[in-house]
């Protein structure tokens, strides 16, 4: 069974030597024919040393003493002083003596080789210095790809004949059944209607069906009922969110750049790419156009301006501290593996060891992207609306940009010429421009495009991947392995559009196959080709090659329609089989390669989290827009993805790596997943919400309550045994009272009467997932703009101060540090106070406009349970009063424990759960909830 294999990833221990044996068995020139083992030894131990330590003086550029070591012939010829090898007495040969630093010519001259390396070289000499005939891994040694299945044109195979024709509901079934019958096997009986509906609904929308939907399908006995279900699901906007996320795995989507020095880390507009993908899939944009837009929407005939967002496919990758070669490498990889399952990036430093991809081809593509550039001002996706907030945004943006321009003007130089503090200053000013676009909800959406440079770059090969060693020039052109003999250099600009069209061509043998394999993978849990990211010569050939080709041909003939492809697959009897195990088949075909049943699958992270929200009634189906916090109630596809420090919950549940194209997710099982189900506030909140539903609370007896929860969570009725066990649990599950220490940090609003020495503190009622505030919307009708987040907040009107409260867990002498800041240069500023025990003011600071002030308090003594309030008020008016303030309290004695407001910032703890809530949580954590049969 495939899932099992995926779950045990420690299995790829292939001796590197085997690989080398395969490729080094090339021809040779003269003398004794080296054995494969000898050549393997050379490639593994000798060539790296020669490259690193010898070629500089004895290679293509310099030949000191007339000696070259970069070919077999040259080594045999020796130096101006004569042969360097004496086969009859290797120990005495000049090369060995030089390496051992015996005599006048120790080599390398400045520093000796590590002993291990020198010994290996001596050993090599003793073998007779076996050397492959051609320098490097030359083209003539590349594997003969002409016969590899994936590089053959897609054929339209004939549909096989089968014995059990009655089982066949789709041509797909003929291919599957023919293989099964060939082995004397039979397919599994169809799954029941409930299972089929649940499977189809999760597959297409990533959400569970409701009980009513299941009942409707169970009662629809007319012909074509399942097809009608599929049409309904495919028409749902939830479809694009589900399948869009599958594509975002390929696109290594994230909302941040990764590690940066001084610039803004967040991409302001990555979300426009995510939204474009979702919409394109909902609209069933033909897959070929879907690809072309993502690579070259700026040049695509007939593209609309909204399609420019598609190019985020290339630009939302990691930024590698702005190293251009690495950024381009990332783009080549995402395109080649993502669309054609070709590992082109392997050819960055040397010809691909297995696939027919020479380094020259890598740099042909490199030239395409080196000839493309990202404009500083990204294009708008639509004309911005002329509303007041939008104008306010624009005004502030211009003000921040003006500071950048002003600074550059003052320095009288271009940005690249700045050094030291000036460079830092410029970076800080630019960061403010970018941060404003990230943070303001009114920034109009823009597209993360590439454009062609006015004059394209003529690429050169970088030897061993190093730009410092440029080699031959190569044209910008497509891959030889796909383009074949007809290959011509790209003609238009960078060649990006031509590249896109060559990928999305019906003549490309890989693109359609890779696409249908991916769709198959997400329906069945395993692809027809089991390496969805690698169709190269080292991939296993599919067990169903004819089926793969038939699907690929049909997909193209159907106008590259993904929705038609889903329908085709899901209406097959193969897809509708039950998932029950069959012990005899489990032995003969444990991986279910022959598709004798449907694979049972566990919900991935998004579907699981969305299903929890759907069950609790909290699911927020808002479509698109800026990223939401993963703790919010929005669909998971909209959760913010910080690729640098991805929140633990994503990793715990095997989320796709946002750093490189993910062909298929892992499926691990570990206790940290269970801890999330058992202890996280998120799951407890869903359980609590379920029991708070009006439909639940108006029920009057326990049996009804239990049935309600079963129906809501499992979309079925509980049987008598389940009722008995459930009611027994609920009867015995009365919550115990537990003493609880007050939380370390609390978030509230209120006022401070300094003369009376009293703080009126009311907890802020609403948690957004990232901030505490008065309600879901700001300003809140009652308390206005009050808000507290990890790094600061915003006060409301004079009676609605923002109060961050710390409660001492033990008696201590503490010092307080921190910086209060306010960014906006308008309004009347803010005032901040530190108030101990609600009475005494330990610190008092005011910022009148923009600026910052250190908020240090040298020494305060507190007893356990004493409060320290960090109170910010708006002074007279509350406009533009967003502030930053991360107070840190530090114990002056003992281990110097520090309480940092940012580290300690959190949403509400998991609520105490009553008996029914605990029962609901157990149902939500069950295998029945998270597995799909």
């Amino acid at each position: 069974m495939l899932l099992r294999r995926i779950a045990c990833p420690v299995k790829l221990i292939v001796p590197a030597a085997l690989a080398l044996l395969a490729l080094s068995a090339g021809g040779r020139a003269t003398g004794v024919v080296p054995t494969a083992e000898q050549l393997a030894f050379f490639e593994r131990h000798v060539r790296p040393v020669l490259v690193e330590s010898c070629f500089k003086c004895h290679g293509p550029e310099k030949q000191k003493q007339g000696l070259r070591l970069d070919s077999r012939e040259a080594v045999q010829k020796g130096s101006d002083d004569g042969p360097i090898l004496t086969p009859e007495n290797p120990e005495a040969s000049p090369l060995v003596r030089a390496l051992r630093r015996e005599g006048d010519n120790p080599m390398p001259p400045k520093e000796k080789l590590p002993p291990g390396q020198a010994d290996l070289l001596v050993q090599w000499v003793k073998m007779g210095a076996p050397y492959p005939a051609t320098p490097g891994v030359a083209q003539d040694k590349l594997p003969d790809a002409s016969k590899h299945w994936a590089f053959q044109p897609v054929r339209q195979p004939a549909e096989p004949t089968v014995k059990d024709a009655a089982w066949v509901q789709s041509p797909i079934d003929r291919f599957v059944l023919a293989k099964l019958e060939g082995k004397g096997m039979t397919p599994s009986p169809p799954a029941d209607r409930r299972t089929r509906l649940r499977r189809a609904t999760f597959d297409l929308t990533g959400l569970p069906p409701t009980a009513a939907e299941i009942e409707a399908f169970e009662n629809d006995t007319a012909d074509g009922a399942f097809a009608r279900v599929l049409d309904r699901l495919l028409a749902s906007p939830r479809y694009g969110e589900r399948w869009g996320r599958h594509w975002l795995d390929v696109a290594r989507y994230a909302d941040t750049k990764g590690y940066v020095f001084e610039e803004e880390r967040r991409y302001p507009y990555a979300y426009t790419y995510r939204d474009w993908v979702i919409r394109a899939l909902n609209e069933d944009l033909p897959y070929d156009k879907f690809l072309v837009a993502q690579i070259a929407a700026d040049q695509m005939p007939g593209a609309e301006s909204r399609d420019l967002a598609a190019m985020g496919f290339l630009t939302v990758g990691r930024r590698f501290l702005n190293n251009v070669a690495d950024i381009i490498d990332d783009r080549i990889d995402v395109i080649a593996r993502g669309t054609m399952a070709l590992t082109v990036a392997c050819a960055r430093c040397h010809d691909h060891k297995y696939d027919p991809i020479p380094t020259a081809d890598y740099y042909s593509l490199y030239g395409v992207f080196a000839s493309s550039t990202e404009p500083r001002d990204l294009p708008l996706l639509a004309a911005p609306e002329q509303s007041a907030p939008s104008q306010a945004f624009q005004k502030e943006l211009e003000a921040r940009q003006a500071k950048v321009d002003e600074f550059l003007q003052q320095k009288g130089t271009g940005p690249d010429a700045l050094k030291g503090d000036d460079r830092k200053k410029l970076a800080a000013l630019r960061k403010k421009v970018d941060a404003w676009q990230v943070e303001s909800p009114d920034a109009p959406p823009r597209a993360m495009v590439l454009n062609d440079l006015p004059k394209p770059v003529e690429p050169r090969i970088f030897k061993r991947g190093k730009s410092s060693t440029p080699g031959d020039a190569v044209p910008r052109q497509f891959l030889q392995v796909v383009a074949g003999k007809e290959r011509r250099p790209f003609q238009k600009g960078s060649g990006r559009l031509e590249l896109a069209q060559a990928i999305a061509s019906r003549d490309n043998p890989l693109t359609a196959r890779v696409a249908v394999n991916r769709v198959w993978l997400h329906h069945f849990g395993a692809g027809l080709v089991r390496t969805p990211g690698d169709f190269g010569v080292r991939s296993d050939p599919p067990v169903q090659p004819e089926l793969l080709d038939w699907l690929a041909a049909r997909f193209v003939a159907d106008g590259w329609s993904l929705k038609k492809l889903h329908r085709l697959i899901m209406l097959s009897a193969t897809y509708q089989q039950g998932s029950d195990d069959r012990a005899d088949y489990q032995r003969t075909d444990p991986d279910n390669q022959l598709l004798w049943r449907m694979n049972r699958q566990r919900l991935g992270f998004e579907a699981m989290r969305d299903a929890l929200l759907a069950a609790s009634g909290r699911l927020d189906l808002t479509v698109g827009g800026r990223a939401a916090d993963v703790l919010s109630s929005r669909r998971t596809v909209y959760a913010s993805i910080d690729r640098q420090n991805l929140p633990g919950v994503f990793r715990t549940f095997d989320f796709a790596s946002p750093d490189a194209m993910t062909p298929q997710r892992f499926h691990t099982v570990g206790p940290q997943q269970a801890l999330f189900m058992m202890n996280s506030p998120f799951v407890a909140t869903q359980a609590q919400s379920l029991a708070a539903l009006p439909e639940f609370s108006r029920l009057t007896n326990d049996a009804e309550r239990l049935q309600f929860l079963y129906r809501r969570i499992f979309a079925r009725a509980a049987d008598s045994e389940e009722v008995r066990a459930g009611l027994q649990f609920v009867a015995g599950a009365v919550p115990e009272s537990v003493e609880k220490a007050p939380p370390l940090w609390q978030y509230g609003y209120g006022s401070f009467d300094e003369t009376a020495g009293s703080v009126a503190f009311t907890p802020l009622p609403h948690w957004t997932g990232a901030a505490w505030q008065g309600g879901p919307n700001l300003p809140d009708p009652k308390i206005g703009w009050v808000l507290l987040k990890s790094t600061g907040g915003h006060p409301g009107g004079p009676q609605f101060m923002a109060i961050r409260r710390w409660t001492a867990p033990r008696p201590a002498e503490i010092a307080i540090s921190g910086t209060l800041s306010r960014k906006a240069d308008v309004g009347d500023g803010i005032r901040a106070r530190v108030v101990v025990r609600g009475q005494s003011v330990a610190g008092d600071w005011t910022i009148e406009r923009a600026g910052e002030v250190a908020t240090a308090v040298e020494r305060v003594a507190v007893a356990a349970g004493d409060t320290v309030d960090f109170i910010v008020d708006c002074r007279a008016t509350q406009s533009s009063d967003a502030f930053g303030w991360v107070p840190v309290l530090r114990a002056l004695a003992g281990d110097g424990t520090a309480w940092n407001a940012q580290n300690g910032f959190d949403g509400p703890p998991a609520p105490r759960l009553g008996a029914w809530e605990k029962f609901a949580q157990a149902l939500l954590a069950s295998n029945e909830f998270v597995f799909v049969d």
């Binding site: 029950d580 990793r651 570990g670």
Partner: protein, 484 residues
Amino acid sequence: MNHHAPSLDDRFLTRRDFLHKCGMGMGALALTKIMAGLGMGEAGAAETAAGFNPLTPKAAHFPAKAKRVIHLFMNGGPSQVDSFDPKPTLTKYHGKPLPLDLKTERKTGAALGSPFKFRKYGQSGIEVSELFPHTAQSIDDICVIRSMHADVPNHEPSLLLMNCGDARQIRPSMGSWVTYGLGTENLNLPGFISMCPGGMPLQESQNWQAGFLPGAFQGTYLNTKNTDLEKLIENIRNTSMSSREQRQQLDLLLAMNQRHLQRRQQDAQLEARVQSFELAYRMQMEADDAFDITREPSPIRAMYGDGVQGRQMLIARRLVERGVRFVQVWHGDGQPWDSHDDLEVNHRRLAGDCDQAIGALLRDLKQRGLLDETLVIWGGEFGRTPVVEMPTPGSNAGKINGRDHNHYGFTMWLAGGGVKGGHIHGATDEFGFKAVEDRVHVHDLHATILHLLGFDHEKLTYRYAGRDFRLTDVHGNVVREILA
């Protein structure tokens, strides 16, 4: 995915081994009993389900002494000539230009002799400076590598090189490789833990990334400034109910899952998830115990000292003692050891923070018999120049009393885990600038660490994007001279 490889399922342990090595007592046994009671049979449960937890213990390529690693990361780059690599000639040249021409990252000037005194310690008589008197007490257990070298004098690429074997690209970290290869001996705790007080080092969580390996192999980051367990490990505490209530709830869950499982022919992936809840239940208690240093007797706590360094070193010992595979202990957030100015003051303060705790860790491991099977690694991402750093606006305070970054030569040391104690390997030139004898590149260090753990570094590979990747990429030679 991974379809070519021979199955390694046979490397998974038997059920009895599994229960034993995972430190699972009653809970898990009770679980299998429950399963047996439900007609599942005694076999099966742990055995098959274990296959789904990628952290299940596995055997290395060959038997080895080292079972666990503690990597003490002095981020920022401690100075070798002020700590473990004494250079009298440098002192002689103090204030004069060196007859060397090595390009440094920033502008540097004349020789800067070490302001710290060295003296000999132990049977081996290895010299250690006054910065590390406590650590020096264990010098006879320490193998000092004085000939380390890296590729560039910049923090970010050097941190990634030291941790992941590649300076820029996305690669799994050493701790991820090791837990991938060995699993972990205590499934009730994370297998790979990275502790850093106050925040994160430069490059942040990339230093302990899983790269293209499954997320389960990523280091779990703990901010050891925090003392609350719930801030250390996500979701480790239940605030919704008492533990008795939780046990009741899990029993209900178990019974429901059991029925579900029985109707589905005991599918192993279903079983694995059933078992994960029992593991999680135990992890709650185990973690409570592992991180609570107040359970240590006061002489032990006094030996480590009561600062944050003492606390995190003591936690490190408690973790390896409980079978955690790989523990990284970072000095602090940012780049604390980066003494471009005021080297004397700053290095004295930094070493003062951690020396007692490091010395205590070594002695404590040894007295418990843990040092033999625990490999302790000490060092930064590179060292510092023996010459003084000159003023550069924007990058130092211009005091002319600090040292610049130095990747040409620096010192790291290893202790325990099968290395030669009281041994010096390699040497820098007479000024301590460049490694000249028996040079050890970071790749060589990685190859050696993997060897000490029982791996041929060329065979611990993972197929990704069409290629078999390894920690040492295409480099690395085991430094056999330091193996005990």
